[in-house]
Structures are given as structure tokens and as C-alpha cells.
Symmetry: C2
Subunit: 231 residues, 2 copies
């Protein structure tokens, strides 16, 4: 094995959250280094004896005090050999979803501060993190059509209008609400509860709940979730 | 930046080829090291001053004398911290397609030999490469339904039956040939040529050709290739 390789391995996490009909991303403010004061994705160097996904979870806990509902690898950024001014660093980026209401953010270690930013009004991110955020946003939009991922961004019980609004917000466009509802309900993976709730001064509506067990058992027999979002 | 990280970065390539109605994968036989004599994916350590994709192309050229038609990042394997007996190595795996007829394989550097193996009769691969090959095979199968990737595995001009056979081979099951043909032709991305050819003692059939320019211009206006392969 060649021993003169001088490449460091980092992980970065793009954590999306959803609240008040807006999509948020978690950023931390750098305490040290060439990006001091800048807002960047939570992340850092991988320890030699930890797996990549352990490294992401550790960094999220250390830098922002947060645990995520959903985590998957997004892409490894290593084609721009100058992406880090300190030397060659490749970043294995992870895509994650979390509920902003569930945690009070707590910055520590390398992070001066940790905050949720509305995707529509974000600060200019340090390093190449704006590129990574765009890639993650694309993945999120695409995933909506083939994986029931929206439920990880909502409360356990939700109004159907909230699910519709989530799709509209992430896609950045209106959806065909009637067909959307018909399609979602036809899969049998969303249960109607006997509770109602209302948003603001709106009319009370039924609360619904995603049936994870049903979805998993359908997956085992080859079921594919699919929502065609082109109007 | 912490400086005690002892992790090496490698790239590995899963190159698929298609010939005589069978799917092949490119393997090289290790000349040195703990896997000496074993068949593994072409790949190796990334040089500090080259991009990840440059590293893959270099390794493919060095170890097998091959250039690929199509290359995309698959996944980074780094959760099993003992995947390489020599120490911690993460592998950024790439998915590639090449035409076996276009190159005579030429092993060099770390590779004793380079060969195409029928996916149905492969040797037990070294390291965790069997896992990587399975992940790539899944990606290939999935991609068939949402990207016109099959054309990269065929000759420039092909019989429609060859395209159908390619789909059947990769999916491992029969397809609805009539609807398949109707759907593919309805997209206008495959042109009929005025040439004919025959396979074996079969009846001569029209040759077809994939229209890359047309596909790219359709993509720009939001066209999505989609073949529903469930019967």
C-alpha cells in the first residue's frame, strides 16, 4: 500500500427540517480555522476507528446537539482537489431529516452557534457547502416521488393539508391536491385517526398517521411508493 | 485540523459490459498484497493531487487497459472499518459501462490479469467487493427504468430484439415486449435506420440507433425517461 497519500476524510451532514410551511436546513457557525465565523454544514474529520455513519452522528451531536430521524449517504465530494484551503479533504456527505421541534440546538466543540435556516434566506455557506446543499435539495425533491419520506418531516399525526403543503413547499410548486390525496390513500399506508385539529383559524380537520409497519410489510412483497408529481 | 487520522482513500470501479445476451463485470487478479491471486474490482489508492474520477479512470487504464463509456459515483464504502486487512481504507465506488468488444484487456501495474466475468459465474471476489458488485447491480437494474442507459451497453446500431434481450438479461425476467417497444418508440429517442441485420439464423430485422442529441434536447425541456417494467 502506497503510504504517501495526503488526503483527509471528512463527513458533512445536510439536515432538513420542516416547520410553519417552510423547509429549513441546519448550519453551524465555525469557531476556528479558515472559515471562522462562517456558517457551514455540521461535520468534521472521521476518526480512524469509527464508521462513516458513526462519524456523522457524532458530529451532529457534538456540534448541534441533535439526533436525526433519517440518515442516508448522499455523495462523496472529492473532484475539486482545492475544496478545503487547509489541504486535500474529501467529504462524504449525508442527507438527513429531523424534527426541529424535538430539539433545542446546542452548539459545542468546533461550532460557535447552530441554527435552522429557511432555505429561502440562507447565509452564503463556507467551503463548497452551497453545492452540497443544492445536491441534497435535489435528492429530497426527487425522493418525494418514490419514497414516503415526507412523513419523517411531519409530526406523528398531521392534517392532510399539512402533508400537501409539505409537498408544495419542497417542490416549489402547486400539486394536484385531489389526485394526490386519492393516490396516497389508495396505498393504505396512511391511517385516519379519530382525532381532529385545526391550523390557525381554519376549519378542524381529521388527523392522519403514517403506518410504518404497513409500509414495511408492503415493501417486502415488492410494493413501490410512487407519486407522479407532474401536473 | 486533527492530524492523527489514519485513513486511506481508494476508488474502485464496477464496469459492466454486455455481449452475447449476457451481463459481464470486469475483474482484475491481484499481483501483490494480502489478496494476491484473488479476483477483485479494478481500483486503488487516490493520489493526493488527482480528483476522485481521475483516479478511477487512471486505475482502469493501468490495471485493465480500458476506457469507459459511462461513469458515475455509486457509493462510498466505509462503515466496515476492517474491510481492508492492511488498515483503514474507505472506497469510493464508481459504476461504469463499457463495450467489451471495443477493447482487448491489458493487465498491468498491480494487476496480474484482467477479465470479463459473466455475472452468473463469477469467482468469489476479494475484500468486500462482492457487496459492492451487488450494490452496483441493483443500481443498474433500477436505472434501466428511469434512464436510457441500456444503449451504452449495445453497439451504436442494434436490432430491437437485442435491446429487449438486454432488458430481460439485466432484470432477470421476461418483459412485456409489445408495450416496451411502443413506449420506447413513443419517446422519439430511438431512430430506425434503413439497414437490416440478423442474429444467427434469425430473420433479418431493422437496425435502430439511439438519438443522443434528441434525448439531451428533450431533457432540457424537462422530459423524463420512464419505462415501467412491472408486468
Amino acid at each position: 500500500m502506497v503510504n504517501d497519500q495526503k488526503i483527509k476524510v471528512a463527513v458533512d451532514a445536510i439536515v432538513f427540517g420542516y416547520k410553519n410551511s417552510a423547509l429549513y436546513v441546519l448550519l453551524v457557525q465555525q469557531k476556528y480555522g479558515p472559515m471562522k465565523g462562517k456558517w457551514v454544514l455540521p461535520g468534521g474529520l472521521v476518526q480512524t476507528d469509527e464508521s462513516l455513519s458513526e462519524a456523522v452522528r457524532r458530529e451532529l451531536k457534538e456540534e448541534a446537539g441533535i439526533q436525526v430521524n433519517y440518515l442516508e449517504q448522499l455523495y462523496t465530494f472529492g473532484d475539486d482537489i482545492h475544496r478545503d484551503p487547509r489541504g486535500r479533504v474529501i467529504s462524504v456527505a449525508y442527507f438527513a431529516l429531523a424534527d426541529p421541534a424535538k430539539f433545542s440546538l446546542q452548539a459545542d466543540t468546533d461550532a460557535e452557534d447552530a441554527q435552522w435556516f429557511d432555505m429561502d434566506s440562507m447565509p452564503a455557506a463556507g467551503y463548497d457547502h452551497a453545492v452540497i446543499i443544492t445536491a441534497a435539495h435535489d435528492r429530497l425533491r426527487n425522493k418525494l416521488s418514490y419514497q414516503p419520506i415526507g412523513f419523517d418531516l411531519l409530526d406523528k399525526e398531521f392534517l392532510f393539508s399539512e402533508l400537501e403543503n409539505l409537498y408544495c413547499t419542497i417542490l416549489g410548486s402547486e400539486i394536484d391536491r385531489r389526485n394526490f390525496r386519492k393516490k396516497i390513500m389508495s396505498y393504505g399506508i396512511v391511517d385516519e385517526t379519530n382525532k381532529t385539529a385545526s391550523v390557525g383559524s381554519g376549519r378542524p380537520g381529521k388527523l392522519f398517521r403514517f403506518n410504518t409497519r404497513k409500509y414495511q410489510s408492503l415493501q417486502k412483497v415488492g410494493f413501490h411508493f410512487e407519486i407522479n408529481l407532474r401536473k
